[in-house]
Symmetry: C2
Subunit: 386 residues, 2 copies
């Protein structure tokens, strides 16, 4: 073995690109996006033959594209005229009319069937969405049995720092995705792990288990994670808002209470969801009024359900009356000012006001977007189990 030459180290260094994957590894020596100290951001895209390179992103005014300028050797560039506020942002390039990801940014989020690059501006809430040097919880993807749905289903579970040590029992927060989402959405787009790690480290949220199930009643798992293979995700799935998910929810609670060290009572259970998940949270919490003391509706769809004759949606007023007679500790409604569900949420508030049911209302800017759902999570989690 001693005979093997040290020259091999030199060979190794020359072969570095080969070392990962002979065929596909590569890359450009370009930094993009570059977040400057003042929080302006420069985007760069190498396209010597392109006629026009534009940028689309949720930091630009709606329906607006930014124009990159061509510099030396076909390197196009755009710098934001103003610093960006702390936030997680998404963007894509548009090269001669074609959407393109940034080849110099490996961080991508999938939202239903669309993939875009992301970056984070730190400070403020941006720090809550970042990984910091704080104690970290664990994130597990596993499978549970749902006899009510007749499926074995994938589920994502966050356990707080320290869970694995000792015998302490924890409260549980059930966090539901919207239409087109799945058990991955709150982790990838919602930054749940980072938000919980940081809020817990700051002493703002109580250590808790966060359970993120798949809310599409016919779906075993997220696209690519079931035996259906690598198929194109679909926004609209059957049986999402017709009572099945709500009806089967006790299967999930049972699974969690038998597989984790939980405080298995109403005072230590919360449920919240965005959009369709808010709809689910509304109906699950009133269908099972002894399960949840904390309910969060994030930009919730307020609807009678697709099958109003389903037992889940019948006698809604009566069920709400029972739920509120049992005095949930927190009923929290959040909506953005320009959300297309804004009026529906105001109507629902009137229903609650008229009946004298107490709730907390949180109104944000903007509409039906992940930025708001991350904000709502950072606002809601600190209110739980106190």
């Amino acid at each position: 073995m001693k005979k093997i030459s040290f020259a091999l180290i030199a060979v190794l260094c020359l072969c570095v690109p080969v070392f990962a994957q002979q065929a596909l590894w590569g890359g450009q020596n370009i930094v993009s996006p570059e977040v400057h100290a003042d929080h302006t951001v420069t985007f760069r895209f190498l396209a010597p033959k392109a006629v026009k390179v534009q940028l689309t992103g949720d930091f630009l005014p709606a329906q607006t594209l930014a124009e990159l300028k061509e510099g030396k050797d076909g390197l196009w560039e755009y710098t934001t005229p103003e610093p960006l506020a702390p936030e997680l942002y998404s963007y894509s390039f548009i090269v001669d009319g074609l959407k393109s990801i940034d080849p110099n940014n490996v961080f991508l989020n999938r939202d239903v069937a669309s993939v875009t690059n992301i970056f984070i501006i730190g400070g403020g809430r941006g720090d809550l969405y970042s990984v910091n040097q704080v104690p970290h919880g664990s994130l597990t993807r596993r499978w549970y049995e749902s006899p009510a749905l007749g499926l074995t289903r994938r589920i994502t579970v966050y356990t707080p720092p320290g869970y694995e040590k000792g015998s302490q029992k924890y409260p549980v927060f059930y966090l539901l995705h919207g239409m087109g989402g799945d058990e991955e959405a709150w982790v990838t787009l919602g930054r749940t792990v980072q938000i919980l790690d940081n809020l817990i480290a700051q002493g703002k949220a109580r250590p808790m288990i966060v359970v993120m199930p798949n809310g599409n009643a016919t779906q075993e798992a997220a696209p690519g994670e079931s035996s259906l293979g690598l198929y194109k995700p679909n926004m609209r799935l059957p049986r999402t808002m017709e009572g099945s998910m709500e009806k089967s929810f006790p299967d999930i609670v049972k699974f969690v209470d038998t597989n984790y060290r939980t405080l298995a009572n109403k005072a230590h259970r919360a449920i919240a969801g965005l959009s369709m998940g808010g709809f689910h949270s509304l109906h699950i919490s009133k269908q099972y009024p002894d399960l949840f003391d904390y309910v969060g509706l994030f930009s919730a769809a307020i609807l009678p359900g697709e099958e109003p004759e389903s037992e889940i949606y019948k006698n809604a007023d009566e069920k709400l009356k029972i739920q509120f007679a049992k005095k949930p500790k927190l009923y929290w409604i959040a909506i953005g000012k320009t959300d297309f569900l804004y009026n529906a949420n105001q109507d629902f508030r009137k229903t609650l006001d008229t009946a004298g049911y107490p709730y907390t209302y949180y109104e944000s800017e903007e509409g039906h977007i992940w930025k708001n759902w991350r904000i709502y999570l950072t606002e809601f989690a600190p209110l739980l189990f106190k």
Copy 2:
């Protein structure tokens, strides 16, 4: 609540794209890639203004690009002339010279700093890389303390189906990545979860825990998963092959044996790795000759190490002698015929042959690529703990 009109359902359906994310959701009504019944594959790319659209992929001959043909309304298309063999494949489009991902395929793998689309051809080994309706294990990302490295570090752990129930103890397989990789590589590029689920379901592999650590001694976690933020991954990191990772390995074994129900002895521990991970496996297993009865070198770097004076690399012959005197149950060497490390592995075999140390040799086609490392995993895992 009854007053809320059913017309809202109609509104909801009209607003479906808005329902996920007002700004960024979108998509094309195009299927790509389309895997046909005969396993030929059609790729499609919509680019009305493009002059040339090409395809690069690991199913094409090396250094070869396939040319797409422009059809109606700027939809470019290419169908493979022959059926593809069962496998997980990677590809990208090249549009007028610019690499582009397939906007109709949300499944992407990152290899160091490069992101490409993937698809799977089923049958044969392709079925081992697919999610099937079999019992599923759990996959957890968590953090452990490494006193030897002075870091809290991220680690990926697969536990087999049924682990959470009962009190059975399991053998442990430590599976290490290559240069530029991290604790994500074996899960994303290596399809470890699918391979293990399927091999266990078929009775070909024994139920086992698979531990995938981060092998870069200065790194807390994969790019994007540490407090360094969302930075561009780098192929070459400091202190990867100078003894630190090898020396600190008992921290990982201790963490696993104290946090999981393990059969905590040599007969029930395996270690294997690809490329740099093979190098680590070689040195760790000889440095700690009582830890592992199963050793796998997948396209291993066979080197004296960057710091030959490190105690890890010193007295290599003597340490190998001690290791083999203790009769490991399996010492397994795999390499591809065109791998740039082929000759180094043949030299290492000669060293073992000369000394009379028994090992098993597996030679494959092709070179230093993930296709081979998935194959090696499917070959090696069934040999363990029998």
